[in-house]
Amino acid sequence: MIRRNVRLPLSDSLWISLENIRKRQTRSIIVVMSTALGISYLTYFLVTNLIFSTFLQGKEGAIEAYNFWLIVVSIVICAVSLINSTMIAILERYNEIGTMKCLGAPDNHIMRLLLIESALLGLGGGFIGFTFGAVTGILSCCLELGLIVLRGLPLTGFLGLSGQTMVFSVVLSIISTAYPAIRAAKLNPVEALHYDV
């Protein structure tokens, strides 16, 4: 009599996740902005690195070694701020998660909703972050090397970079959501209902 295949169609999960993002505007903006901040920092260094290595061929070694650590630091900053904001965002919703479990949502539905939401936020943050970081990177290169930079922009390199940073942003936000999301999904509904932040 008991059937196991409770399915949640992708369109429904996308809809719920989008509603959640739309209706929790302030929280979503904070998460997107903190992602964008980290990603734009990262993009800035990658873009300046790219431009410098295109224009100053043969001298890029020194710049790369110096930038490598800055990039590592920017990734760490980005990850920490993301983990922090997603953790709090999910803690706030323990009660809601408990209610959904009472209504019959299996663990994987809850996980899926939270992960789709964070992937969407990561995509948004990645896009804004890349745009901002690329623009400031190009501007600062213009100041260093003159307007000649604009004429010889390595566009294919940019395209590759934009793809990489967006994927990175999405992966990073999924990873940072995974831990609190797994914890939330595995909660006993009674515990989740009575969880006070």
């Binding site: 009599m1 008991i2 059937r3 196991r4 409770v6 399915r7 949640l8 169609p9 429904d12 719920i16 509603e19 959640n20 209706k23 929790r24 009660n95 809601e96 408990g98 209610t99 959904m100 479990k101 009472c102 209504l103 019959g104 949502a105 299996p106 663990d107 539905h109 006993n188 509904p189 009674v190 209902l193």
Partner: protein, 232 residues
């Protein structure tokens, strides 16, 4: 179809609190007949909520068995429990627990989404249920725009969404004033009579006890007495 919707066999639930073992439920065996309106009554700390959680498949017993519709809940894994909660049981909480970002209509749709109901069908059904509880004009309002009594009515509609055999209500009138509480009790009673859904309410409220078919008195995790009444 069996006569009993819920059966428990020497149900025990122990909690560890600061190294001490507390018995919240001690050897509770009850049988609840299909289609009845049952109150579980007792002072706070008597194990009402614990029993309620066991019957609803929200928590597992330390010892003993719970059968919902002849299915042994303790033998189910997490997915089967979720299925059971989705299809067999509807929940009503003291604090309503509506999802704040969704409208009344969407809140009622939610259990049907988890049950895999088609979109057009669930919209129609949710509208229908909201009409039944008298909220047709407010289907697109969010919980924050509804009064406490209206929120609880949305919760009743939500509990009925997947045509459960059983509705569990934990202090459904606890956060409502006396008149609004009476409205909620009457809606529950009507659902019980019209749809034949079994209602189990944990309560202090004398008005709920008055309309109940059966009253289970709990104290210190044990059943004190079970009162069966003639159906009016």
């Amino acid at each position: 179809m069996s006569e009993y919707i819920v059966e428990t066999e020497s149900l025990c639930r122990r909690y560890q609190i600061g190294g001490e073992t507390v018995k919240a439920l001690d050897n509770v065996s009850i049988e609840i007949k299909r289609g009845r309106y049952v109150s579980i009554v007792g002072p706070s700390g008597s194990g009402k909520t614990t029993l309620f959680n066991m019957i609803g498949g929200l928590d597992r017993p330390s010892e003993g068995k719970v059968f919902i519709d002849k299915v042994d809940v303790s033998k189910l894994d997490a997915y089967e429990l979720a299925w059971l909660r989705c299809h067999k049981v509807g929940y009503i909480f003291q604090t309503f627990n509506l999802i704040p970002v969704l409208t009344a209509l969407e809140n009622v749709c939610l259990p049907m989404i988890f049950a895999g109901t088609q979109k057009s069908e669930r919209m129609k059904k949710a509208e229908n249920l909201l009409e039944v509880v008298g909220l047709k004009s407010r289907i697109n309002h969010r919980p924050s725009e509804l009064s406490a009594g209206q929120q609880q009515r949305v919760a009743i509609a939500r509990a009925l969404a997947n045509d459960p055999a059983l509705i569990l209500a934990d202090e459904p009138t606890g956060n409502l004033d006396s008149n609004t509480g009476l409205e909620i009790i009457n809606i529950l009673k009507r659902m019980n009579r019209e749809k034949g859904v079994t209602i189990i309410a944990a309560t202090h409220d004398i008005k709920i006890i008055d309309v109940s078919d059966d009253v289970v008195w709990l104290s210190d995790g044990k059943i004190e007495k079970i009162e069966e009444r003639e159906r009016s």
